[in-house]
């Protein structure tokens, strides 16, 4: 077990390094639209496109050899000195630190709500398969998944924000984090995200529960006259809890990964989703690498924790020989 974890962690480091290198390589070969636009503007006003390009390269430090730049970025990454974000004029660490709270503030309630709702709908629909309420519950869960997030968000904004005026249209980062105003402006984004993520959890818990609904011991319990609630809690939920728990571990880590760019853009939330997307669009190498590192590492480690949790919770699985 210990050997397994050590190997996985070592691999996580290698994988992160590889992904960062590929990302860096892709960025390096892609022409920068901002640089091109500057060259065009310079030429259009009678100036020199070449001088504009040189100035741009000097500002971005692109006047050094690719190998030098690569080495510098990689050393920076390893030493956790993530450098300066060109597109935001602040250090990458500051940029991430300022965006993270805004992502957390909507992703924590979203994760909690969608786990609770997803689990209960899933269990309900497993124990009441093919009934009308099952259809209704399934429909509700799938509704959010099937409706495009961005479109649903805009419609909610127009109806509840502009027409009815119940909620503010744009997220205001000035509102105190723990206050009624914040709750009010988070209602719409959280609704959009929760309805969008319920389906996955609901489907998984339903499938897990279904496996036990028809199991012999449940049938026996039912034959012995145990009531529905007892069957659900004692005979279905207990064995199903193992795989469900591992999913939950993944989901809780996912709080930091669940940053939804589309929802952040529609509601104007300055979170991690916008941060990483804008970084890519602006080809802000340090910031792209910084955010990629976080996302990659969290998801690689998340996978690991999930697998380890599985081993601990379910003794039937043994990784000893791998």
């Amino acid at each position: 077990m210990r050997w397994y974890v050590v190997r996985r962690v070592a691999w996580a480091v290698v994988a992160t390094f590889l992904i960062l290198s590929i990302t860096w390589g892709l960025l390096a070969i892609t022409p920068n639209p901002a640089a091109e636009q500057m060259q065009f503007q310079a030429a259009a006003s009678g100036g020199s496109a070449e001088a504009a390009e040189e100035a741009f390269e000097a500002r971005r430090g692109l006047d050094r050899s690719p190998w030098d730049r690569y080495r510098e970025y990689m050393i920076n990454m390893a030493t956790l000195n993530w450098g300066w974000s060109q597109s935001r004029s602040q250090s990458v660490t500051d940029a991430i630190a300022s965006a993270l709270p805004y992502t957390a503030i909507y992703s924590i309630p979203t994760t909690i709500l969608s786990i609770l709702l997803g689990l209960s709908i899933g269990l309900y629909s497993a124990t009441h398969q093919y009934t009308k309420t099952d259809y209704a519950a399934t429909f509700f869960a799938f509704f959010g998944y099937a409706i495009p997030n961005f479109w649903f968000g805009i419609i909610l904004l127009l109806v509840f924000g502009v027409q009815l005026g119940w909620f503010p249209v744009v997220f205001d980062s000035d509102v105190p984090i723990f206050g009624l105003g914040m709750v009010q402006q988070l209602v719409l984004p959280v609704v959009v995200l929760v309805t969008g993520t319920i389906a996955g959890i609901m489907r998984y818990s339903r499938a897990e529960a279904l496996e036990y609904v028809e199991a012999e011991f449940v049938k026996t319990a039912r034959a012995k006259g145990a009531d529905g609630y007892r069957i659900l809690t004692r005979h279905i939920l207990r064995p199903a809890a193992v795989p469900l728990m591992t999913i939950l571990v993944g989901d809780i880590l996912g709080i930091f990964l669940a940053a939804s760019y589309l929802v952040e853009v529609v509601f104007g939330i300055p979170g991690l989703g916008q941060l990483s997307y804008n970084a890519i669009i602006a080809q802000d190498t340090s910031l792209v690498l910084g955010t990629t590192l976080i996302f990659t590492f969290v998801s690689v480690v998340g996978n690991l924790i999930q697998d380890v949790a599985y081993t601990i919770l379910d003794p039937r699985i043994d990784y000893g020989d791998r």
Partner: protein, 572 residues
Amino acid sequence: MEATTMPDVQGQYVSASSVDAQSLNWLTIADSTSGSYITATLDGTWAVKPNREIFPLWADYETDDGRVYEIQLRENLEWGAGYGQMTAEDWVYMIKNVFQAQPNWSGYPNSGDWFRVNPESGEREPIPVEQTGTRTFEIRLFEVDPAFPFKPVLWRQQCIPKGILEKYVPNKDTEGLKQDEELNTLAYTGNLGPYTYETWERSARYTITRNEDYYLTEVDAVPERFRNAPYFSQSTTRVIKEESTRLGALESGEVDAAGIPPDKATRFENLSNVDVNVTPQPFVRNIVYNMRANGWTPFRSKTVRQALAFAVDKETIVENILRGYGQVAQTMQPRWSDWYDDSRVTEFGVGDRYGPEKTRSRLESALSDTEYAYDGDRLVNGAGEQVTLSIYYDSGQPTEGTMAEFIAREFDENAGIAVQPQAVSSSTFQSNYVQTSAPDGADPEWTAGTFNGGPRDVATSAEPWDMSVNLQFNTYPFTPASSKGFFEQRGGINYYGYYPDEDIGALYEEATATTDESRRRELFGEAFGLISEEQPFSFLAMPSSVTGYATDVQGYDQKFNAGWDSQTWYFR
């Protein structure tokens, strides 16, 4: 606009922007949002009023011959953060050690403005600048340029205290300059702008507060309305990327100002809580023809280009695509500009200078020496196949797509040419269609930079194309001479391979060097008349800029460059 009583200082003015600034360190930026964030705290030398008059802010200038300019700074300009009074020394130090540094170690994007060709040596040299007093310095151009004060090189030019720059100049410390705390938080602005920096939350909001010590309020020679400026106690720019959200926020009153796309403007005109302000802007939309070897070669003939200009109805573009928020364009100047001479401009694509018969008969005679001819309504090549051309548009711009489709239909109906619209992203267009170069091994006679890699038969773009509507060109209504490169065979921007029939470049040069204002008008009028006649590209329309303001916002103007006095706007 001129209020009889002075407006009160009150309220928080909130405007919406679709993009955020990149930096508050103006030495490193070239985007307009960053520029507007900074300008609110640093006035700069002078503003240009809509009637093309200079309005001195920090400084005024004096010139006898249009060649040597003496810049005179006001007395009451104080830096913040303990850097004392702003003096000519600050300016000269900055210009010589940063703007004109060779190599450009700071990466200052506009350093090219500070170099000009010296006719004596024939080389590009730094423009000589010299301090002549505590608050005066001289800029000695190599040649006469009466439009110099209107060019971005000095217009609204800002400055940085010598005390800050001294830390980085000796070691040419690019990173240090870029990351300097005082530059990035605008700590040095003192009394130099209407507002002072408060907070900047990236991707969310930029907040500035009223500068109680604003120097302009103590100046006697300015109009009364500047007396107590600015009139907002706070001003915030909120970054709202999604257009529907931005417009929703304007409608619900969460923001006081936001840009409106033309097809939504009518709805906002009908709203009671929003006023729509329509102002001209300097960009022209056009069809660019590829006259290089990988385009359709008949475009090289002036008569063909003129004939094709009969095929597209410009009024429909303005009325139906721009929804009436724009003007028909005929040449490289808007109709309202000082340099547009009605009597010299040849009009195309309007009234009776438009239509299928007119296009076909002209195109037929223009193409009489070539393989192309009409077969019924269709224009066919030597093999009897219909001529098919491509037209490119930006994949991120739905309005441009509509325009391309409209042009395709007009060409098909009026000229019998099949046109296929193609979408490309702006960066692909730039690298594969606008950048031209001669193939490896070929040694072109001359080259004029990235966008004009040589004679049109040799240098081409990487991908073939026939027409495009991708890029809008700035017409420079204040400094028309800036567009010279578009109309010269060896112009740095001539990516479309245009060889003018008349020497338009020479006219530009003559006009540039003429100090007599009415003679300059005449010369430029002639140049823009020639351009309209030659049709180097097909001028279509100049869209207006449409902004919605909350009804209680007062003071803005319906003219070009309307924001020049935004510090005098107020809440009713």
